[in-house]
């Protein structure tokens, strides 16, 4: 440690022994220190009602009275609205609603109305949809959307064709946020017909709407919306997002299906819990196990080995081999110094993928799964699906869905699973989505 830190630590230790010596304890609170007020210009004070703090300390009934008082200042009314946002109930709604058409206070009125749980707040906002125009209408539409007032869907659908494009865009966004079957239907129709002048806004809203549908379990309608959003005439960010969300939904479905079938993670995606390997060679990043021999010279092949054994199982993994040679051991025996002996689902640069090899054994390659099989489907230096099925004496390997090797073998019916780094040139192999179903 640098000397100045040591010195500082010693001084601190003398100054606050309780802090440093009580190692496991949180620090004690020191004596209260005066907290000077912020130094600013003197703020505005309302002639009748005083400072903002004084106004906002008033009871809700008094605040409502300020809103209704013709001579009260904008300042007093603004502060009353902001306080009613937290404490106002339905008795405050009419007074707030009366300000929705006042250009200076309309936003403050919505500030007060938006958080009021009582449904009468929805009623007055919906009512204002018919009466206002321009920016004040935009504001009310936004508040209706924020409150997710499903009763407003019909009125909002009409506003999609409002001559003021700000109004039409706000209506689209509100429909997206409200979501639910009726809003979804409206947005889907607009996407299909393609007549709405604010098509990009409708598309953005549909994206939000579909998410709401998924959250409510309305999968079919959500996917239909996503599908409509992948059309070529829509903005690229929306199309990309819809495509990605559809793929994500499909991936979630596949994962759910596998979980139902009994597959469980063999790798937790975060660390090497449950595994044992040379710490110089293995790390975890972004849900991936990365094995690399860069900067390390291996005397013999080194493995990342499961701490438990598996007999009959179905293993699925995704593998990316940068170069050289790797593989997945199964039904193998763990040896000292992260070595193993037993069967290996092999892989190598331009060779051996899909083959069964007898690591540290005498049988060599038991089945050649490369020629005419894996060689046709393997993606070099890219992610590949690798599957190992061991069911009694029957063993089957698949690469990217293609069966590459089948054999019957009883040499060893149970053992560890292990990931290989091969000695020789510096190499890297990555593994992710390892999941296993134990058959019995």
């Amino acid at each position: 440690m640098p000397r100045h830190i040591l010195l500082a630590a010693m001084i601190l230790r003398m100054a606050v022994p309780a802090l440093v010596l009580a190692q496991a304890q949180p620090p004690e609170q020191p004596k209260p220190k005066p907290r000077p007020e912020r130094v600013v210009l003197p703020p505005m004070v309302d002639e009748k009602y005083g400072s903002s703090a004084e106004i906002m300390a008033l009871e809700p009934a008094r605040l409502i009275a300020i809103l209704q008082e013709p001579g009260a200042s904008v300042y007093a009314k603004a502060k009353a609205c902001q306080r009613l946002a937290v404490v106002g109930d339905k008795s405050a709604v009419p007074a707030l609603a009366a300000l929705l058409a006042d250009p200076r206070l309309a936003h403050y009125a919505r500030f007060g109305l938006e958080p009021i749980p009582d449904p009468s707040a929805d009623d007055v906002l919906r009512d204002a949809l018919r009466k206002l125009q321009g920016r004040l209408l935009v504001g009310v539409i936004n508040s209706v959307g924020y409150r997710r007032d499903a009763k407003a869907v019909g009125a909002l659908a009409k506003l999609l064709y409002d001559g003021d494009s700000e109004v039409a865009q706000a209506a689209a966004a509100a429909l997206g946020r409200i979501s639910g079957p009726q809003a979804a239907k409206t947005l889907q129709q607009e996407l299909d017909r393609g007549k709405a002048p604010v098509r990009p806004a409708v598309a953005g809203a549909a994206l939000v709407c579909a998410e709401g549908l998924l959250a409510q379990g309305q999968r079919k309608q959500a996917l239909a919306l996503y599908d409509a959003l992948t059309r070529a005439d829509l903005p690229t960010p929306v199309r990309d997002a819809a495509t990605r969300q559809m793929a994500a939904a499909a991936a979630r479905d596949a994962a759910d299906q596998e979980a139902r079938e009994g597959f469980r993670p063999l790798f937790n995606g975060r660390d090497l819990g449950g595994w044992d390997g040379d710490p110089r060679l293995w790390r975890v990043g972004d849900g991936v196990i990365v094995g690399s021999t860069e900067g390390v010279t291996l005397q013999s092949n080194s493995f990342l080995i499961t701490r438990r054994s598996f007999g009959d199982f179905h293993l699925k993994a995704q593998v990316k081999l940068r170069n050289h040679n790797s593989g997945i051991q199964f039904r193998s025996e763990a040896l000292p110094d992260w070595g193993v002996r037993g069967l290996q689902a092999d892989m190598a640069e331009n060779n051996h993928w899909g083959s069964v090899y007898d690591e540290r054994g005498k049988r060599g390659i038991l089945v050649n799964g490369w020629s005419g099989k894996a060689e046709k489907v393997v993606r070099a230096n890219d992610w590949n699906d690798y599957e190992i099925l061991c069911d009694g004496d029957f063993i089957q390997l698949r690469v990217n869905g293609v069966v590459t090797a089948e054999l019957r073998d009883t040499a060893r019916m149970s053992g560890v699973i292990a990931l290989q780094l091969h000695r020789g040139p510096a190499m890297e192999a990555q593994f992710r989505n390892l999941r296993i179903k134990v058959l019995r």
Partner: protein, 437 residues
């Protein structure tokens, strides 16, 4: 240094989205115009940048961007003429040309298809809204902290970036400061014991009042729109009369423009605690405020679902610098702050690394680099939208408990307070028309 990727973990939803995304978005076309200066990165590797509202802090971040060889800054948008000119001068001097465009309307900047990413350093009131609108325009975002004004804004921020697959980096650069990273790593290694208590320094109350005020300053004549567009400066926040103090940077402490002293500092320190506790994807369940009187030390005692404890406090640290964090478990403790000094319990002293003040100061440069790397790789940076939003939600919830002066129970899955109507009504604020999230 710890590798970035060791700590990144996301909800299953995000993970599957990213994996699926990796398939469908494979050919990522990187835009970037030709610079024509020797020593510059080739165009395909270059990231073109725009700026929104760059003041003093923003300028310092912008300098970090400008010193990266693969960045080209193309345009500045600001409501103040003076700021537009200053940033244009900075960029033009750097490149030896007069090419930096100036806008007062952010939509003109978003319309520029040749801009990949945007640095947002306006006042807090604009942060979430501009980040979201920038993402919708198809660009990536580096945004100064605090990143949101409310719980609702935080959630919208995380959802939008997840939905659109854009890259977001919050300006919480301490996630890339060597001393803070070491402390986080130590807490996560288990060497402090199981579930160490996390202590986050929040606005030191003797200098930063935790409370915001609803006051208005006296009205001054509004300047011409070309000099300063007051309406646009206010943006989504409530209207109030113009006063030059606000636009000159003295807007903190006003409720309409600022989230308070807990968020101001907690957006860094609570964020680091969430990282240390491996709870980046959630927030505490319980918030119990202490010391609500004026001129007294204050704290908010928080608890996560796992039983993990987080204490936000304005005092009681070792005085190593600003922005303390302390992690203390039954097997040891560590405390660090700005400047790079680290203190640990005796048993952990031997393995303590020496971190130079230069290393500690490199945080912003590292953080900017992290963002740029992720713009290219399409991976999530350390202060991604979800992690930042969850830490902000914890700070907002704590400040709500502090204002109400009572213990609150919160459900991080639904962002809802249990049985407290007032608290729930403080989770969002209506935006001034025409703005919405």
């Amino acid at each position: 240094m710890v590798r970035k990727t060791e700590f990144v973990s996301r909800r299953r939803l995000l993970k599957t989205a990213a994996q699926a995304g990796a398939l469908v978005m494979a050919p990522q076309v990187i835009r970037g115009s030709v610079l024509g200066r020797s020593g510059a990165a080739p165009p395909s590797d270059r990231i073109t940048l725009g700026g929104l509202g760059i003041g003093s802090r923003g300028t310092s971040v912008l300098r970090s961007f400008l010193s990266e060889p693969d960045v080209q800054f193309l345009a500045i948008c600001d409501v103040r003429n003076e700021r537009r000119e200053a940033i244009k001068t900075l960029a033009d001097q750097k490149y030896g040309n007069r090419d930096c465009a100036m806008y007062s309307d952010q939509y003109e900047l978003w319309a520029r298809k040749d801009i990949d990413a945007v640095l947002i350093a306006t006042g807090d009131r604009w942060h979430t809204l501009l980040s979201i609108l920038t993402a919708r325009s198809g660009k990536d975002v580096y945004c100064e902290k605090p990143c949101s004004m409310t719980i609702a804004e935080s959630r919208a921020l995380a959802d939008t970036f997840q939905r659109l697959g854009r890259i977001y980096q919050a300006g919480t650069q301490r996630r890339n400061a060597a001393n803070f990273v070491y402390a986080v790593q130590l807490a996560r290694s288990g060497k402090l014991g199981k579930l160490p208590t996390l202590h986050a320094e929040v606005g030191p109350g003797n200098r930063w009042s935790p409370r915001t005020t609803h006051d208005w300053l006296p009205a001054e004549p509004e300047p011409p729109r070309q000099v300063c567009d007051w309406d646009r400066w206010l943006g989504p926040s409530p209207w109030r009369p113009y006063n030059s103090q606000y636009v000159q940077g003295r807007w903190r402490g006003y409720f309409d423009f600022h989230g308070g002293g807990i968020l101001e500092w907690g957006s860094h320190t609570v964020d680091l605690c969430q990282w240390a506790g491996d709870v980046d994807e959630t927030a505490p369940l319980e918030y119990e405020p202490h010391g609500m009187g004026s001129n007294t030390p204050y704290s908010i005692d928080c608890r996560y679902a796992s039983g993990l404890r987080l204490v936000m406090r304005d005092s009681g640290f070792l005085g190593l610098g600003s922005c303390h964090i302390r992690f203390a478990g039954d097997a040891g403790w560590i405390e660090t702050a700005d400047g790079g000094k680290i203190e640990v319990s005796e048993n952990l002293r031997a393995e303590l690394p020496a971190i130079s003040p230069e290393e500690a100061r490199a945080a912003t440069a590292n953080h900017v680099r992290d963002f740029l790397n992720c713009v290219k790789s399409r991976r999530q940076p350390r202060s991604n939208a979800l992690a930042a939003s969850q830490a902000h939600i914890a700070c907002h919830a704590a400040y709500i408990a502090f204002q109400l002066g009572r213990k609150l129970t919160f459900d991080p899955a639904t962002d809802t307070f249990a049985g407290d109507d007032e608290a729930n009504r403080m989770r969002s604020r209506a935006m001034r028309e025409p703005w919405r999230l």
